[in-house]
């Protein structure tokens, strides 16, 4: 057989195989075509290959070369068709029965009390300003709640009707009277009593005063108290720390204003306002720690000075979240809790 006949046969085979593979529409048609052209026993390529023995031996190398060329062409066409069919299988069709606007499956999530959230935020800000949280007892003796804080025996704040004193029944005679702390300043005293200056702390927690319950009063509420004692601490430092605090809390630079006030444990004492949205808003009370307080804990007021400030958590939290009635904090209505 002349070489040219063999080559013509191979070319025809290639043309037909390519057309057949391109025409396949599904996997079974492709398999049929594969068996027809590439089948190991009776595939047409195999059959054509067998006819090579009839080619003149001198032309066989050229025939073999052509055979290999056609073989890889057909193989490539098969693989291309195979890939084409696989991709086609991945083409998506919209399911008219599936409604993607149906609600998702929401995991049940609990909510932290807004007071806790406020405390966490304040603690975080004060932490960044270098203040470490200190804890202290809620049931206090008169020394820590009054005497050491320069609240003398005849001060109206000590009136038994204005405090939650503990009943003496069943308590050891000789122990002094105990009461629920009326301010978190007690923690200042406890910290200063056990550590020398410098001191840079905040104390947060529950405080108790027998108020008639109304929109703005509840017999239990929360305070944050800050204290910084060191050499060379001035009222300018107090103003600066409060400005940083208020700016962090509100997320924008604000100014601070001091109005004179009176607290037994600080002197000078001031009310602190922050200027926000064109208004002065009350922040809390502050001042320079009274020398008597420093002396009461064994510090030398000629050596160190310091400032203290106190904020009402309920008021800050209420103002931020638009809670105008303090009683909401205590109902524990989950519809309320879920709002935060």
């Amino acid at each position: 057989m002349p070489l040219s006949d063999f080559i013509t046969a191979l070319d025809e085979l290639a043309t037909q195989a390519l057309a057949a593979f391109q025409a396949t529409a599904d996997k079974s048609a492709l398999e049929t075509a594969r068996v027809e052209f590439l089948g190991a026993k009776n595939g047409r390529l195999k059959l054509t290959q067998q006819r090579m023995t009839a080619v003149d031996p001198a032309d066989r190398p050229a025939a073999g070369q052509k055979l290999n060329q056609v073989k890889s062409t057909i193989q490539a066409a098969f693989e291309a068709a195979s890939q084409r069919l696989e991709s086609a299988a991945l083409v998506q069709h919209r399911d008219p029965q599936f409604d993607p606007t149906l609600p998702g499956i929401v995991p049940k999530r609990g909510h932290l009390h807004p007071i806790t959230q406020t405390i966490a935020e304040l603690t975080d800000i004060m932490g960044r300003l270098g203040f470490t949280v200190a804890d202290g007892p809620e049931i206090e003796d008169e020394w820590h709640n009054f005497d050491a804080l320069n609240i003398p025996l005849d001060h109206p704040a000590r009136d038994p009707l204005d405090n939650f004193y503990l009943a003496t029944a069943g308590r050891t005679a000789g122990d002094g009277p105990l009461l629920l702390r009326s301010q978190t300043s007690t923690v200042q005293i406890r910290v200063m009593e056990r550590q020398p200056p410098p001191v840079r702390i905040i104390a947060l927690g529950r405080v108790y005063r027998p108020d008639q319950v109304d929109e703005t009063h509840y017999p239990m509420f929360h305070q944050m108290e800050g204290l910084l004692i060191d050499q060379g601490i001035t009222m300018a430092d107090l103003k600066s720390v409060l400005r940083l605090f208020a700016s962090s809390y509100l997320g924008t630079a604000v100014h601070i204003r001091f109005r004179p006030s009176f607290f037994p444990f600080t002197e000078p004492s001031v009310e602190v306002d922050m200027h926000w949205q064109d208004r002065w808003i009350e922040m809390g009370g502050a001042g320079m720690v009274d020398p008597r307080v420093l002396e009461a804990v064994g510090y030398d007021p000629e050596q160190v000075t310091g400032f203290a400030f106190g904020l009402g958590i309920e008021r800050l939290c209420g103002r931020r979240h638009g809670i105008t009635d303090i009683r909401n904090f205590h109902y524990n209505d989950v519809r309320f809790l879920h709002q935060f």
């Binding site: 609990g110 300003l129 804890d135 405090n163 939650f164 320079m288």
Partner: protein, 672 residues
């Protein structure tokens, strides 16, 4: 303190508006409450802090204004002419309780005509909302509002023996006050008595029998200094608060009594005529001179962070009424005015200079040194606990630290000692300091149920209060939670907390018996010998007592113990990349065998190959297994760190587990 704008300007010329006036005073310590027009006048309401009783009269406010606006202060000087026999011939004053009354001055006016006050005086009192009585009582009220010194006018003819005795009330004595109510007196109270009986409550209220009436002819004018503590206690006990008691409670100007007495007599004589008897009858001791106060100028920058020029300091101190005694290099010594009892120490002068000079002069941008702060372990654990429980779907409650007796008694797992009680309940009936958070949380769940919020799952992190033999009570940080559903809901939450905090040791489980909880479905967890938690489903009784509708379970955990056992910095252990092999087992055991018994046996038998042990099911088939038997189904997951386990090794483990369970727990393997 209500201030009449017109009245005020008798003492100080002010060319500012009432608004400018109020703004400036606010920045000097007198908070502005309101300003209301009153006819041609304005009434300005100022808040006076308890350290400034000198501002409880128009003169005191005028003194502040004169200093702040740099204007002269004009204090009126009473002009009196005295006639007839000396007061001391008709009046005797004795102070028998010098601790309650330091000084007492009496003046006598004879032949006065009682009638209405002159219009100029009447309108001023009315502008301040003070009721007009008659020219005498109105004059005492006028002087009260002028200088802050309370005064009292007695009908002299009603004073037996012409005597004034300042003493403690005797047990059983009573007084009909000018409000015509009868008050029971006791020896803690200071009274003004005549020769026979109490005629007034010292500093609080006068008596009806000696009050000035239209028929009154002769007056005894009292000006005195009563003890703040005694006046406050009496006013409070009798619920009798008056402008007088308010001022005595805060302390009056001890050197101003005579001025007030003479000023009052002057006004009475002008409106009601009569003759002022020469002299006063005085008992007690005049105020002694107070020690000078020295201000080191260096203290101003040390405390305030700014310098104040020495001339300004002098101007401020002088304006306050201080008299400069001595000026040293860098210091000023002054005598503080008698009306400023609060100026005793150097720091008091520092505050005065700062407040008048202006806090706006203090900068707000100093460079406060940076220091490291750290979150305590306790803080971190609290945060993890809250995050874990919130992630598990529980809402955080906030309940009161005090509860009712009934609530306190219904559950107290941590102590048998009685709860501490307060003298005053925090809310109606709630006077016990709680020993557990659970009763409050159950009440919160119940109140949600009643508001149609079914299935409130709540937790709280708070202290409980445990009585100690001596000293302060123990305050234990505690986690309480209440959830809907059975025992396992609550128990799983406790396990979740232990895992979140990487607590290494496994708590022992002990049976408990508490009426609130189902006796079968409750347990105590004990961690290394200390009670860690109490968990349980509410008993039928507990449900009824709590008025709950839907089944609920609770857990209470000692948070402080958790803090001690928490591993806040977990350490990495290498992971094995070899595959796991699992083996299921189904063992028949006696009912008395508990899961923890089996778990202990399995864990000690398998050793380090055990990656996890998972409980599957408990199942009972008395027909096949006999009575009082149960089947425990569970899965062992095995993995080695250094090799792939063969099936043969896994089978050997399984055989060993069965053998150990058989020998230790009489368990029988159920094949298939």
């Amino acid at each position: 303190m209500l201030v009449s704008w017109n009245w005020l300007r008798d003492y100080v010329p002010l060319d500012v508006t009432p608004t400018e006036f109020a703004d400036r005073l606010m920045m000097a310590g007198l908070n502005h409450e309101s300003t209301e027009p009153y006819g041609a006048d304005f009434v300005v309401d100022l808040e006076v802090t308890s350290n400034r009783p000198d501002c409880l009269g128009h003169l005191g406010i005028a003194r502040e204004a004169a200093l702040l606006f740099q204007q002269p202060l004009r204090v009126p000087q009473p002009e009196l002419s005295e006639q007839g026999e000396a007061a001391s011939t008709a009046v005797r004053v004795d102070i028998e309780a010098p601790d309650l009354c330091r000084q007492y001055s009496a003046r006598l006016i004879r032949g006065v005509r009682i009638g209405p006050s002159p219009a100029w005086l009447a309108v001023r009192l009315q502008s301040l909302g003070i009721a007009l009585i008659n020219n005498v009582v109105d004059a005492t009220n006028y002087v009260l509002m002028e200088c802050g010194q309370p005064l009292h006018a007695f009908d002299y003819s009603a004073l037996a023996g012409g005597r004034i005795v300042v003493r403690r009330a005797r047990t059983g004595e009573r007084l009909t006050a000018i409000d015509h109510k009868v008050y029971e007196l006791d020896p803690t109270m200071c009274v003004i008595a005549d020769a026979e009986r109490p005629v007034a409550l010292a500093g609080v209220m006068g008596g009806a029998e000696s009050e000035v009436q239209t028929t009154t002819r002769d007056l005894l004018i009292e000006a005195a200094e009563f003890s703040p503590l005694s006046v406050r206690a009496t006013a409070r006990k009798l619920k009798l608060h008056s402008p007088s008691s308010y001022r005595f409670e805060r302390g009056i100007d001890a050197a101003g009594i005579d001025w007030a007495s003479r000023r009052c007599c002057e006004l009475i004589l002008r409106s009601g005529g009569g003759q002022l008897a020469p002299g006063q009858v005085f008992a007690g001791s005049a105020p002694s001179e107070r020690p000078p106060v020295t201000l080191r100028l260096s203290q101003l920058p040390r405390i305030l962070g700014i310098d104040v020029p020495v001339e300004r300091v002098q101007q401020i101190l002088e304006g306050l009424g201080c008299v400069e005694l001595r000026r040293g290099p860098g210091s000023i010594s002054v005598a503080a005015p008698s009306w400023r009892r609060d100026l005793i120490r150097e720091i008091d002068l520092v505050e005065e200079v700062a407040r008048v000079h202006g806090y706006d002069k203090i900068p707000e941008d100093t460079r406060v040194p940076m220091v490291a702060s750290h979150r305590s372990e306790s803080d971190r654990v609290h945060a993890t606990v809250r995050a874990t429980l919130a992630a598990a779907g529980l809402d955080e409650a906030l309940t009161l630290s005090m509860v009712s007796e009934r609530s306190a008694e219904c559950f107290s797992p941590w102590t048998d000692a009685a709860p501490l009680a307060a003298d005053t309940p925090i809310l109606e009936g709630a006077d016990r300091l709680r020993r557990s958070l659970i009763p409050s949380l159950i009440a919160a769940r119940q109140s949600n149920e009643s508001k149609q919020n079914p299935d409130a799952a709540l937790f709280e992190v708070a202290k409980i209060y445990l009585r100690q033999p001596a000293g302060l009570p123990r305050e234990q940080w505690t986690i309480g939670l209440v959830v809907g559903g059975d025992y396992f809901q609550a128990k799983g939450l406790v396990t979740a907390l232990l895992r979140a905090l990487h607590v290494a040791s496994t708590p022992a489980e002990q049976s408990v018996s508490m009426p609130l909880l189902d006796i079968s479905r409750s347990i105590a967890l004990v961690l290394e010998g200390e009670p860690l938690a109490f968990i349980g489903e509410l008993s039928a009784l507990g449900m009824r007592q709590s008025e709950l509708r839907a089944r609920a379970s609770i857990a209470e955990i000692n948070l402080e113990l958790l803090v001690r056992h928490a591993r806040l910095i977990p350490q990495h252990a290498p992971l094995s990349n070899f595959p796991v092999v699992t083996r299921d087992l189904n063992l028949v055991v006696d009912e008395s065998v508990r899961w923890t018994d089996l778990e202990t046996t399995v864990r000690s038998t398998v050793g380090p190959l055990l990656e996890s042990l998972e409980f599957r099911e408990v199942y009972r088939d008395p027909a096949k297994d006999g009575a009082d038997k149960k089947r425990l189904l569970f899965t062992l997951t095995l993995r080695a760190s250094d090799r792939t386990l063969t099936n043969e090794e896994a089978d050997n483990v399984r055989v060993a587990v069965v053998a150990a369970a058989h020998s230790q727990l009489s368990a029988k393997l159920l094949e298939g």
